[in-house]
Amino acid sequence: MSNIAGKAYAMNVVTPIRWYFVWLNKLIFWLAIKIPGVLTGLITLSLIHYARWVIVSRNDFPHLSPEQPREELKYSYMFFFSNFNGSWDQYVDSFTFSIPGGLDLFWKWNIRYPNSVPLMPFHNYIRYNQVDTNHYYNATPLAASNDVKAAAAIMDSLQSFDKAVANLSPEEFQKQYFAVLRKHQNDLGDMQPTPIVSLAAHEVEMRRKRELAQHAHEHDHEGELHG
C-alpha cells in the first residue's frame, strides 16, 4: 500500500449514514456549493488539492450482473476523497483547527461521528473509517498543489510577456519585466523533494528504492547474459 506519492497524500474515508438523513445531507452539500463564502475556509487551506464528498444511497450501489448477489444494506454510505500535501496529522488537524463547524455540518448525520472538536475522538473516527490506498500515482512528485498553481500562473504570464515585449526598448523591457516579477514574487518558491512525512513512510520509501535498484541491477545482468 501507499497513501503517499511525492508530496501528495491520498485519503479515502467511507462512513455509514442513516438512509433517512441522506436527503438532508445532500441538501447541505447543495447549499454549500450554492452559497458563496461557505467553502472559503476549505479553499484557503492551500495544502488541499481537492476534497470531495459523495453519498451513495443504500439502494444505489452498482449491481453489475444478475449473478452478483443482492445486498441488503442497512445504511447508505458517504465517501470522502481528498489529495493533499503534508502528513495525515497536518491535514486532519488543519481541518479541525480551521473549519470545525463546516466539517460537523458535512458529517453530522454519519453514524458515530464524534464532532471534529475535541481532536482525539475525531482522529480515531477518521483512522477507523479510512480505506488505505493500494496504488497511487503522482505526475508531479516534486510539486505541491501550490507549486502547480504558481507554475501555471507564471506560464500564462510569461507567454503574454513574451508576445508583449518583442519590440520594446531596453528601459521599457526592464519596466515590464519588473512588473512580471512583482506580480509573481510570491510564486517563485524553490521546488525540491518533500520533507520526510514520517519516519515510517521514509523507511518504506528507502526499501522500495533499494528494491527497484536491485531489480534494475539484475535486469542489466540479464541483458548482458542474453546480449
Binding site: K7, T40, G41, I43, T44, S46, L47, N85, G86, D89, Q90, D93, S94, T96, F97, S98, I99, P100, G101, V117, P118, L119, M120, A144, N146, D147, A150, K175, Y177, F178, L181, R182, K183, Q185, N186, D187, L188, G189, D190, M191, Q192, P195, I196, L199, H202
Partner: protein, 509 residues
C-alpha cells in the same frame, strides 16, 4: 475558561524565562543514572532544591526569590532507569521515546548538523538534564557545587557526563550560558546581533498573563474587527489541562505523573557568525535598502531594538517608530515590540514570508488575507506555539569573519507535544515553505541551507510593494547560518511527579 494554576507544583522554568528576571548566567548538566535505587535517592535530594513557579512578589502564591534556580528533566531512558512502571512508560508519545538523534531526519539535522558532529557528551546515553540559572557567576558556581555534592552522595548511582565543548574546544562536564553583554551591559541579544525572546507565548494561568498577552497570546478580532489578543489554553504547554482542541493532551498515566508537567526540547545551536557577517556584507552591498534593512528582513525585526518590520518597514518608518518608542510608557513599549500582526502585509513587502518571526509564529497570516476564512484567525498557528527558554553561550566579536569558536544559543523549547509543536515548526516552517506558499524555501536564519550531497543551494524572495516600480530581491546561495551541536527530548515533571519518581511510587493502576 480562566485557569488557576498551582504554581508550587509547576517547575519554574515552565513559567519563567529566567533571564527576564535578572538571571543572566546558566549552566546545564547532563547526567546518567547507573543505579535505579541510588538514582531515586539522588532525585529525592534534588527535588527539595528544585525551583517552582511560585511568584516572587510576596503574594499568596509566592516564595522568596533565590539567587540561583534549579530545574530538572528526564529523557525516556532516564525515566526507565529510575524504575517508572512499563504501563506508564507506554503512555509516552513516540517522539519523546525515540529522542532527538533518532528524529534527526524529521528535524533536518543533516550535513554539519548531523549527530556525528555533535558535542561528544551526546555520544553516550543521557538520562537527566539539570538546568541552573543564576543572578551571578558566584551563585551559579555555588549551586553547581551543591549538585556535585548530591552526586557524590549517590556513590556513583548517578554520574555527571563530560563532553560539552567549551571555550578553546575544551571538553567540559557542563554547558555554560550567559546573556550577551555590550559595553558591560546585559542585553537580550544573540550573537548575530538580534534582540531575542520578544514573542513569548502567553497562556491561561500565567501570573503576569494580563499585562503581557498583547501580541503574545492568540490573535482574535473584536466585534468591530480590531485585533485583540487572548491567552492560549494552558494545555498547550502543561499536561493535564484543557488545550486549544478542547481536550486534555494525550499523556501517560497516572494523571499525577503527567499533570503540570511538560516536554522540553534541549538544543545547542552553533551560530556561524563569520558566514552570517560575510553573507550580510555581500548581499547588503547589493540590496537597495542597505545592510541593516536586509538584516532586519532575515528576522522581521530591526537588530538594534527589535522594532518589527510590520510597523517599521523602512529607514524612515523606523525613525518615526523609534521616536514614538522613546516617548512611550513601558507598557506601550512592550506592546509596540510584541504586537506584531501581518494583516496589512499580505504581499510580504514589509516582513518576508521566509523571515524568522513570520515563520515561527505566523499569527493570522495563514488566512492569506481572507478574513474570517477560518473559525479563528490563528487557527493554523495557535497549536504550534512553543515556550522558549535558554541563553546564548560563548563569545563572539562584532564583525567577526570566522565561524570557529564556541558561540551560539542553548535553546529549550517547551510544550505539551514535541511532534505537533517543535517538530512541526522545525520541519514544515523552518526547513520547508509550503504553508507560506513558498515551495521549499526555508526560513532564512535557521533553515538547514546547503544540505549534504550537493543539494541545491537555498534562496529566498524578499517581496516588494506590488504597487511600486521595484523588483523583488532574491537572496541566493544562503549559507547554513546555524548548526545543531547536540540535544535531546526531555520530560519536565511537576513537583508532585518528581517526588513520586523519587519515592518510586508511580503507579498507573
Amino acid at each position: 475558561m480562566t485557569a488557576v494554576l498551582d504554581l508550587f507544583d509547576i517547575q519554574g522554568e515552565v513559567t519563567r524565562a529566567y533571564a527576564r528576571f535578572g538571571f543572566f548566567y546558566s549552566r546545564y548538566l547532563l547526567l546518567q543514572i547507573k543505579d535505579g535505587a541510588r538514582g531515586r535517592d539522588f532525585i529525592c535530594a534534588m527535588a527539595a532544591q528544585v525551583t517552582t513557579a511560585a511568584t516572587w512578589d510576596g503574594g499568596p502564591q509566592s516564595a522568596p526569590r533565590p539567587d540561583s534556580t534549579l530545574n530538572i528533566s528526564f529523557t525516556y531512558a532516564g525515566l526507565k532507569a529510575l524504575g517508572i512502571p512499563r504501563a506508564s512508560l507506554a503512555g509516552f508519545p513516540a517522539d519523546f521515546v525515540m529522542g532527538m538523534r533518532a528524529r534527526r531526519e524529521i528535524l533536518g539535522d543533516d550535513g554539519p548538523s548531523h549527530p556525528d558532529h555533535w558535542d561528544p557528551v551526546w555520544k553516550q546515553p543521557v538520562h537527566v538534564l539539570v538546568s541552573i540559572n543564576a543572578l551571578s557567576t558566584e551563585a551559579r558556581e555555588q549551586r553547581y557545587q551543591a549538585v556535585l555534592g548530591m552526586l557524590a552522595n549517590s556513590e556513583d548511582g548517578v554520574v555527571l557526563l563530560e563532553g560539552h565543548r567549551g571555550p578553546g574546544g575544551a571538553l567540559l562536564p557542563y554547558q555554560d550560558g550567559h546573556v550577551v553583554f555590550e559595553n558591560g551591559q546585559p542585553t537580550s541579544k544573540e550573537h548575530f546581533g538580534y534582540t531575542d525572546g520578544i514573542g513569548e507565548p502567553i497562556f491561561e494561568g500565567l501570573p503576569d498573563m494580563a499585562e503581557r498577552v498583547w501580541g503574545r497570546g492568540k490573535q482574535v478580532y473584536d466585534s468591530d474587527g480590531n485585533v485583540n489578543w487572548l491567552p492560549l489554553e494552558t494545555g498547550e504547554f502543561l499536561l493535564g489541562h484543557y488545550d486549544e482542541a478542547h481536550e486534555y493532551p494525550p499523556a501517560p498515566m497516572p494523571n499525577l505523573l503527567s499533570r503540570n508537567g511538560t516536554y522540553t526540547v534541549y538544543r545547542k545551536l552553533h551560530e556561524n557568525v563569520g558566514s552570517f557577517n560575510k553573507y550580510l556584507e555581500e548581499q547588503g552591498a547589493k540590496y537597495p535598502g542597505g545592510k541593516e534593512l536586509l538584516a532586519a528582513k532575515f528576522v522581521g525585526r530591526w537588530r538594534d531594538n527589535g522594532a518589527p518590520l510590520t510597523d517599521a518597514p523602512d529607514a524612515a518608518a523606523k525613525q518615526a517608530w523609534d521616536q514614538k518608542y522613546a516617548a512611550a510608557s513601558p507598557q506601550e513599549q512592550d506592546r509596540m515590540l510584541a504586537g506584531v500582526v501581518f494583516d496589512d502585509d499580505q504581499s510580504g513587502a514589509k516582513c518576508p514570508f521566509s523571515a524568522h518571526i513570520r515563520r515561527i509564529n505566523p499569527r493570522a497570516a495563514l488566512e492569506f488575507g481572507t478574513k474570517n476564512a477560518f473559525d479563528t484567525p490563528g487557527a493554523l498557528a495557535n497549536r504550534r506555539r512553543i515556550l522558549r527558554r535558554g541563553l546564548p553561550y560563548g563569545e563572539s566579536k562584532p564583525g567577526q569573519f570566522s565561524d570557529d569558536g564556541e558561540h551560539g544559543i542553548v535553546i529549550m523549547m517547551l510544550g505539551a507535544s514535541i511532534e505537533r509543536q517543535f517538530e512541526f515548526v522545525q520541519q514544515q516552517w523552518i526547513n520547508y515553505g509550503n504553508d507560506f506558499r513558498a515551495g521549499n524555501d526555508k526560513e532564512i536564519l535557521l533553515g538547514n541551507h546547503g544540505g549534504p550531497h550537493g543539494a541545491c543551494p537555498s534562496r529566498a524572495v524578499l517581496p516588494v510593494d506590488p504597487n511600486s516600480q521595484d523588483a523583488p530581491f532574491f537572496l541566493c546561495n544562503i549559507p547554513r547560518l546555524v548548526t545543531t551541536r547536540g540535544g535531546d527530548y526531555f520530560f519536565t515533571p511537576s513537583m508532585t511527579a518528581l517526588r513520586m519518581i523519587a519515592e518510586g511510587t508511580v503507579d498507573p493502576t
